[in-house]
């Protein structure tokens, strides 16, 4: 794991030349300053070590599985939020998409009689359409995405409550397919690692990812250069929503109970917290999907670790708050520090 702190290991395209050419003594410090993921990775490892030492039980397989099941959804929704934060938007309805799409699977499978796989595809497409609506309303009608997706959050919650009559449902399962989609204990983390890896490639290695950074870094400039900024943003909304819906289906298949009483706001806030703790700025133009994953691991280690060492789950919320504030302050200060130390050109 510590490999990733070395400057060459990540191959991050935003790594600056100074990080590569720095003298030996300066490398560790510079990397901490210039690679946002590195600092939070240190925190994640420190927490992991602390809980391993503090509790003999922390490294049991069951704990790791619990941890993985917390990290999975937060990391995937977080990856979607990173895409939006990078292009200077946000999706508050992602958590609601996460909890509602399993209902759509249920309706398609049980009420319309579609096969399970088709039902899952339908639900992911519906999630994508929700994202497209968020994006079109935001870009074409000039509504800030904070408001667009806040409205979508309540609207989806309402649709979920009305269509389910506010009654719990049981997620239908069919053998192997359902094992792939969440039935197998580790499937959620496998999904999340794969999806986060794909999003890493999309953001850092593709033209679309570059245009996403451009749209968030200089909206007017990017459009003057011919980047179709609105289309890029709409696709980011679609991606965030579809990812949330997909991992929501995986999560619901594992839990089996569909609870319309949960509006999904907690999942959404955890995901945005993971993105921010991981080093993604809210101002647009920079962000890291890997950072969001590590941020999700930090939250997960805190959540599971505090439970095991016997601290009330309520204290977790307090620590989460402190962690977000601490991460934001560190983020802003590190950026300022890096700015002061920039190379004379």
């Amino acid at each position: 794991m510590s490999q990733a702190i070395l400057p060459h290991a990540g191959g991050d395209t935003y790594a600056t030349p100074s990080a590569r050419t720095a003298g030996r003594s300066g490398i560790g410090w510079r990397v901490l300053v210039e690679r946002r993921e590195a600092a939070i990775l240190v925190v994640a490892i420190a927490l992991f070590v602390y809980f391993t030492v503090a509790s003999a039980n922390f490294l049991t397989v069951a704990d790791l599985q619990n941890l993985s099941q917390f990290v999975g959804p937060v990391a995937v929704i977080g990856a979607g939020e990173v895409m939006l934060l990078v292009c200077a938007e946000v999706d508050l309805s992602a958590g609601t998409v996460f909890v509602f799409m399993p209902f759509v699977v249920y309706y398609a499978n049980q009420d319309l009689g579609l096969p399970m796989l088709a039902s899952i595809v339908v639900a992911v497409v519906v999630a994508g359409v929700v994202g497209a609506l968020n994006g079109i309303i935001t870009t074409s009608l000039n509504v800030p995405s904070f408001i667009t997706t806040l409205g979508m959050l309540f609207a989806l919650d309402g649709i979920m409550l009305v269509t389910s009559n506010a009654a719990q449902l049981t997620m239908p399962t069919v053998g192997t397919l359902s094992n792939v989609f969440g039935g197998y204990g580790w499937s959620e983390i496998i999904w999340s690692v794969v999806l986060v890896a794909i999003m890493y490639v999309v953001l850092n290695r593709t033209r679309f990812g570059m245009h996403t950074v451009a749209a968030g870094g200089n909206l007017v400039g990017a459009s003057e250069a011919g980047v179709p900024v609105n289309r890029v943003k709409i696709w980011c909304f679609v991606i965030c929503s579809a990812l949330s819906g997909l991992i929501g289906i995986v999560d619901a298949t594992r839990i089996t109970v569909l609870d319309p009483g949960n509006p999904g706001t907690q999942e959404m806030f955890y995901a945005i917290a993971a993105a921010v703790i991981g080093g993604t700025a809210l101002t647009g133009g920079s962000g890291t999907v890997i950072g969001a994953f590590v941020g999700a691991v930090v939250l997960g280690v805190l959540f599971v670790g505090l439970t095991i060492v016997g601290i009330s789950a309520n204290a977790f919320v307090l620590i989460l708050g402190a962690a977000i504030l601490g991460a934001m302050i560190a983020n802003v200060q590190l950026a300022r520090f890096a700015e002061k130390r920039k190379l004379p050109s």
Binding site: V213, A225, V227, S345
Partner: protein, 275 residues
């Protein structure tokens, strides 16, 4: 030669190239505000045309129309004799018009080489669009070397560069491809003498050696006389002055601008008295 060409040639003795760009009666309103009232302008191959005018005279609006960023309310545009209708920046690029905006349209967080290739990325994998980073890095280094632009590294984020380096990156991006007409919006603003010299050399090289036709917008008349073959004044949304720089002087241009400005104030007073 057509009659329009003869007409144009009467105004312009300094450049012999054929006409590459012509506009007729370009108008543009923003709500009740009239930005352009009918701009007639022409540009010859390899010519550097200076466009001056007060703030709000419509220079930037005109450039944004030429590059397809905005659409005119009325009027015609011809590139190499063919009438064109631009619906987007891509349309104007397709016929060889490139623009360097006053704000440079660079993305501060992206490295130099990605800015150079913004919207012109070299990709593999078809529609998936995987960036060929190493190829773009190599070509960026090569091209910046060719036009003698020095940056610390093509991997440096643009936010770490000086104003002159940013301007040079923006000009380099516009001229890397097969450009016929280059639009420069205040290319020398906020630049030191050494950096100005770099841009001036770059502009001269492009027009004289590569036959690029260039329109330069600038507030600073000294820059215009240094860079341009011919100067047009846009005043109250029309071209009101058109002379080769050899046939006019800094003094004439300045006194012309002042008299136009006086007239405007007088007519403004008259209008208020009428009202």
């Amino acid at each position: 030669m057509t009659t329009t060409d003869l007409h144009a040639a009467r105004h312009d003795r300094s450049v012999a190239g054929e006409e590459i760009l012509r506009t007729e009666g370009i108008t543009k309103h923003f709500g009740p505000v009239v930005a352009l009232r009918g701009v007639d302008m022409h540009l010859r191959r390899g010519e550097v045309l200076g466009l001056v005018g007060d703030n709000g005279a419509g220079k930037t609006t005109f450039v944004k129309i030429l590059c397809g960023y905005q659409r005119p309310d009325a009027g015609k545009m011809f590139v190499e004799g063919q009438e064109v209708h631009f619906r987007s920046v891509s349309d104007s690029r397709a016929v060889g018009i490139e623009t360097v905006y006053q704000d440079l349209a660079l993305v501060p967080q992206l490295p130099v080489y990605k800015n150079l290739f913004l919207k012109r990325e070299i990709v593999a994998g078809g529609r998936l669009g995987f960036l060929s980073d190493n190829k773009m890095r190599r070509l960026a280094r090569q091209y910046l070397g060719d036009i003698k632009v020095n940056v610390p590294s093509v991997d440096a984020p643009v936010e770490r560069l000086s104003g002159g380096q940013r301007q040079a990156i923006a000009v380099a991006r516009a001229t890397r491809s097969d450009v016929k007409i280059l639009l420069l919006d205040e290319p020398l603003s906020a630049m030191g003498a050494k950096e100005s010299a770099l841009i001036i050399d770059l502009v001269r090289d492009l027009s004289k050696n590569r036959g690029v036709s260039i329109i330069v917008i600038d507030h600073n008349y000294a820059h215009i006389f240094e860079l341009c073959d011919r100067v047009n004044v846009i005043h109250q949304g029309v071209v009101s002055f058109d002379k080769p720089v050899g046939d006019t002087s800094l003094e004439e241009l300045t006194s012309y601008m002042v008299s136009e400005y006086r007239q405007e104030i007088m007519s403004g007073r008259a209008a208020r008295q009428d009202g």
